[in-house]
Symmetry: D3
Subunit: 337 residues, 6 copies
């Protein structure tokens, strides 16, 4: 049976049996001395403040913070917001629900995005780059993670499939832009864009929430990707029986290492080949415009013309749609092609 999401409930309704992700829990005492549990429950559409009266410490221990549970209860209106009064809890067995229902997910179709990505990458003509990219495409476990990973924990494309969506958009843009830079290699730019954030497949975990893995924090996704390129280039050479050209290997690694464009953003090298410049600026173009749109759409104060100050963007964002282009609710980037 299809899940009903938090965003679809209203006050006065009952929930007989539904799984929620427990973001946080708190055991509190009433003024009369009794205990109650205050919890925040979420799915991918929003969050719900919940209370369980006449609680015990055992009940509290049973609820896994950051994990899943089944709930029963009723929805009330509390100071203008929805409040969930829990009447019963039960374990939620793995397999009995979809983890994907609890994390935000791309609005685009992952399979269609993936087909198009592969199609573009299959168009790479330079034999060495084609061989290198093939090694990555053939790594099923890595590609599985690549298709699901978010592009960031916050900021831009912070949802399941976000890394793929970001990467594909860049590939599409590069196909159109590069004819205007005939002295640069389209193949090298496509390879660089495909691999620039691939380390995030491992840097970010996305099982129940978006977080950095240990190696993500100790090494970072750009060094991670450089190491993978090393091994995939070796594997390509082994497969084709033809050594992978040294300069080509270094340049591809360099493009990935330098794509943050500044030392303080974690790039150990600054762009030294023109194609690295392209990867750096197109990546920023896509990431920053998505971050701006995301700031505008997520701003809760609909009366305000400015969002709050955003540290990463170094600015508040001006929200008025002065040209009247943002009327359409969704941004389905596959549809527009």
């Amino acid at each position: 049976m299809a899940r009903r999401f938090i965003a679809q409930y209203g006050p006065g309704e009952r929930i007989e049996d539904e799984v929620f992700l427990i973001r946080s829990k708190d055991l509190r005492s009433t003024t009369q001395g009794g205990l109650y549990i205050h919890a925040v429950l979420t799915d991918k559409t929003g969050q719900l403040v919940a209370r369980l009266w006449q609680a015990t410490e055992a009940m509290f221990a049973e609820m896994p913070e950051g994990g899943f549970m089944r709930f029963k209860g009723r929805l009330e209106n509390y100071k203008g917001n929805l409040q969930f009064i829990i009447e019963g809890i039960m374990a939620a067995e793995a397999g009995s629900f979809e983890v994907a229902d609890f994390l935000p997910v791309t609005k685009n179709n992952i399979d269609r995005m993936w087909s198009r990505t592969v199609e573009i990458l299959r168009g790479i003509k330079h034999p060495d780059l084609a061989a290198l990219v093939s090694e990555f495409l053939a790594d099923e476990e890595l590609m599985r993670r690549f298709r699901k990973a978010p592009a960031a924990t916050v900021m831009h494309h912070a949802y399941i499939g976000g890394l793929l969506e970001h990467t594909l958009n860049l590939l599409e843009v590069a196909l159109r832009v590069m004819p205007f830079y005939p002295k640069l290699s389209l193949d090298l730019v496509l390879t660089g864009l495909f691999l620039h954030d691939i380390g995030k497949s491992k840097e970010l975990s996305y099982e129940t929430s978006f977080a950095y893995t240990d190696d993500g924090q100790l090494l970072g996704h750009i060094v991670q990707a450089a190491m993978w390129i090393d091994k995939k280039a070796d594997a390509a050479a082994a497969r084709t029986g033809k050594p992978f050209p040294e300069q080509m290997r270094w340049v591809v690694q360099h493009i990935v290492l330098s794509h943050h464009g500044q030392y303080e953003f974690g790039s150990p090298k600054l762009p030294a080949v023109p194609e690295a410049v392209v990867v750096h600026y197109l990546d920023n173009l896509d990431a920053k415009t998505h971050a701006f749109i995301s700031e505008i759409e997520n701003d809760r104060d609909t009366a305000a013309r400015w969002t709050n100050y955003n540290q990463a963007l170094q600015s508040r964002v001006y929200k008025p749609d002065v040209c009247g282009v943002r009327k359409t609710p969704a941004n389905d980037s596959t549809k527009s092609r």
Copy 2:
């Protein structure tokens, strides 16, 4: 009669009557006690070391540094380089030569670039933006300068027509890129790109060399452009009889003011609308890739795989053409369409 350029001369030839721009001059004494003039003469294809033996102080005074003169003499080989032995000098009357022969100039056709630019800008649909752009297009004196100005004194597009070439390339790129950002206004981006560097039409003088004008240095091209937008918006309102929307005016000015993206590069404001982000990154993409290619092509040490360190690019540039794409000599960006 068509001019013969420095790059076309060889040792042993004579020059009977040709105009050169005098980059520098020096009055020196020989070991025998006589005087001679050592000068560097240029046209847009290169420079020539010249000597005038048995010189007098009067001759020296007659030669305008940074100005033009007619020369007669012979070409010799001196330590592997061409040397011009001057045998006679004469004033070069204005009008008797083409100033454009002495400054580097775009390899593309200015008229064709201009037609295409106007064509793209005529495609702007939003009535207010179309009206504003029309005011600029109707300013013949400004457009005349816009078509001739370089985009910079050094670094990128530092040649006659460079500003137009840079602007047109950005407009073409935006036409292809913007469909992938449906929540942003193409019209606003096109307007922003057209106007982002238009202040350079006045900031840079290009009569006999590329230099900053006084107001260019005191105010800068981005504030200059903001002031023009103010006046052109007033003019558009006067012409159409419809007040120019305040928010639209501010947003267009903001895009221009913020397009350098960082305070230390002279932007008094950082991008606060998504379209400003697009203008900022596309501008950098075009300017920096041209600067990289220019570094590679102008590097004199053909044996070296790296250029010298470039302060503005914060890097040395790696020159090997690892993908074999830079074989074609010229980058005619109009041809490629």
Copy 3:
């Protein structure tokens, strides 16, 4: 009837009918399940925590946050602070109260400060600068705002009339200082000081609170002022029939554009003429000393010898009056002349 201000009330008193500005409001439930409204009411002398028991949602909706209302009730002592128990509320019709009573206002006389400002500016002898300044003085709407605007939203002179007070103090100081710099132009410094922050007349709104306007945030007051100078110089030329000298226009605009002295503070240009240096440092001298004094006077912890760390001042401020000069309560800068 003269208003009685918050600072003049004590516990045990009644308020029969008085207007307050509602800074914030909150609908809360009691432990018995009833509703009450918790609000913060202000006027220019302070703020008052208020409670309205037995509230309804309708009453809550009726109270305009950031707006005005008439109140009736009694004052109690609650944990050492005054608390206002609201017994009745009524709409406050515009015109029935003075908005100025609700915003902090300069302690000096605005009319007297304005007369003195005009007197000093009328002393400018250079004909072009005098003509330019006259155009500004003749702009009644702008001068009306100039006289009322604060000089900042926080930090220094953050009160009605603050911009005028700050500007006048700078003019007075310049009159005394400039004789020690005979190679610099007093007229240019006076003009620069008059115009340096004039953009704040538009950048800051001060109707019911101090905030940045949209154009204030998108363009900033320094670019705004540069644009006004452009138009006023044109107007002066039209009026006098004599073209406004280009260099003079640029230099005045440059002084305004560069007066923040550093790129990261929003100046697109750094001072390049000596008079710009004077405007920059005198402005800082006045703004920063006022900010320091303000930090000391507003610090609530009278036992502490240091204020809290102030991000903008990059320091905590040391409060002891080691020389015994801060005994006098107020700083009436007009009286001291």
Copy 4:
């Protein structure tokens, strides 16, 4: 007999016996194999390129670089510049010439400036500050150096008496400015200004050229001054029999330590009392305007409207005297009072 200065000589003249400071010397060989000495001679009005033909190594060794010598010879014109052909050299005995003739010196009268400085400082009313200042004034050796020291090696007031001139100008300015800041202590500001750069009396040597001393470089003038204040405050206490108030001592030291206003300019503390803010900004006002004027006056290219880029000022300086105030040749700041 009064010295004749370099600036007063012309080509064709003879010098029979004159002392010069030898800035640099070089032993070179002619194309014929002989030796000659190339030297640069200076006095406070300029420098002179000199040649001594038929030189020997002994002659070369005899000439003290950075020291003085007597010269005989003739003046010629060489490529438009004056050249001195040395015909004889002799030792220059100390006492037989004025060292002050060889270093640039203030255009103002040192004694008159000193009297006025003392007069102002004697006006300090606060007994502790007056006692502290008296200790400094009573240190004859230190005051002797204070009167002669330059305020810097380059940049501003880089001449004998420059430190005194800079300090006095600040005191005069403070007397006029402080009435507009009635909550601040004039006495504390005067004391701070007097002592802020006093460490330069020791940091800079000025016997034959302006240079940093070893302790100047290892400790810096601001820490040096803080240590002197410590000792002078002890001495004042010993003399008056009254302990010097601790807070007062710290605050005076703090004003000196923080007067550079930024860590990267060598201030270990940032201003934390309002009077420190005054000292910081007035110091910069005086130093920077002098540096700007000095850049303009020393610029050799009279045809150019801009000076070269000055690293310390972070700008080129715009030279046109748009208000027509710099007609008078000299800046005698004592005369103008």
Copy 5:
């Protein structure tokens, strides 16, 4: 009788008469309208939330915030934490308790650390440095404070005796390291390490909590130390009858002044002698490794593998003990010798 510490109490126990340091206190009203005091009591082993029901304003006034008092009452379990219900309060007379029981204190033996410190310093062979160090060692009041002071208010060695522990560890390390740098002076390094943070003896107060003194904030410990060296060198000269060598004095002061290694950390000079480099890096090595260990050990979330982001360390700290070396509970650095 030995004190029983907070860490040793459990729920259900009674406290008949014990002194606590009152970190904070608050007078609150119950829902019934009565008053109660909420306080936080501490000793060096932890803190205790306390409540005193049926309180009066007089009782509240009697309790000194930041001071000591005797308490009687019972311990309860409140939401998993210990809560102290106060039944009686009494003044705590000075002398009737040990202040040291209320501040964290080094785990090492202060006397033993001091003996070893003196022993190492007595090994300095250079007569001038030995004389200077002797003057410091002979200053009993200063040495008394030196032995008790913490090395910082937070971050590293933030406990009684921490400055001594940090200094001794550095001396021990230097003894082992310096043989590998034979061209550097061990004596100078030992002197520099002994004095580098000695100003903290005065900069930090540690009577009832760790805080900066007024002079600590106005001057800083590094300038403070430089001034002491000045006076102690004078005293050494007076005692020995031999002038203290100027260069030696400056170099020792320079090492102290430059030991923070960067201007923005408050060093007015950067290291200019090799021994200053050694002092700077060894100091950082010791301080930073202690800070890292401290972050790991104080992190409350035992389930997490990363600490929170630490601004001063510019990083989160990775906690897993991958080499299995942190099994031993305490870090008794004297024991390991």
Copy 6:
């Protein structure tokens, strides 16, 4: 036959047949119109200005810049310097001379340093770290380069064997220092120090001069080392049949990646484990003290007490040996053990 070095020759001597490295060459014409070659010849002890009169273009082409040649001729005194008049040139066959004679080389014995390094590394007890280190030690080609590589192109240890000398000194220091940090792992620190700069074995070429390789510039030595660790850990696992622990791998890589300590020095991550802090500071201690000593010893102006400003050290260096410890000419760090 043993080579005689440049430093051992004097004027008047003859050179019958000696190999030199040709640093630069120049074909010039005499005033009589003939040609001569001006060249700079070097070996590891210094350089020699040379002239070959009656030269031809063929001779000039024959001389390999950056390569070796045999020379014959006589030594003269020219303006106080030695000048070599070339009388004959001949090809220098590879194998007929020692390349090592032409590059500066460590004063210590490479074999002895290597034995000691291996000895220390064999002392690593942790089995995984020992296995990883063994893989590196077993890579003969890499270890051969490791033993010969300089530690930098300029600055510190810029000589053959410099990387080994720097690494060994760090290992020795760590052995002595780590007992004072018992909560940190000595094994991890030793491993980190061994590997921290190992990438320089490949980043720097040292065949005829010290330069960066292409991959050195595109990737950098720290990413290079991280990639090697990845492969060596795989190899260790394959050899031992036991998977290499993931956390251990990441931590070792992290220590190498973060050892520059700041983003702007090319570290993509900042230290997040205590052992990384140790490696960072010990590395700096050794590198910077060597750089300071090197500045002092290489300063040519023996009269000056300060070296020139050194950009990398951000300071001039004070040269006086105030403690009298630098009398011994050489710094044989192996001898001192």
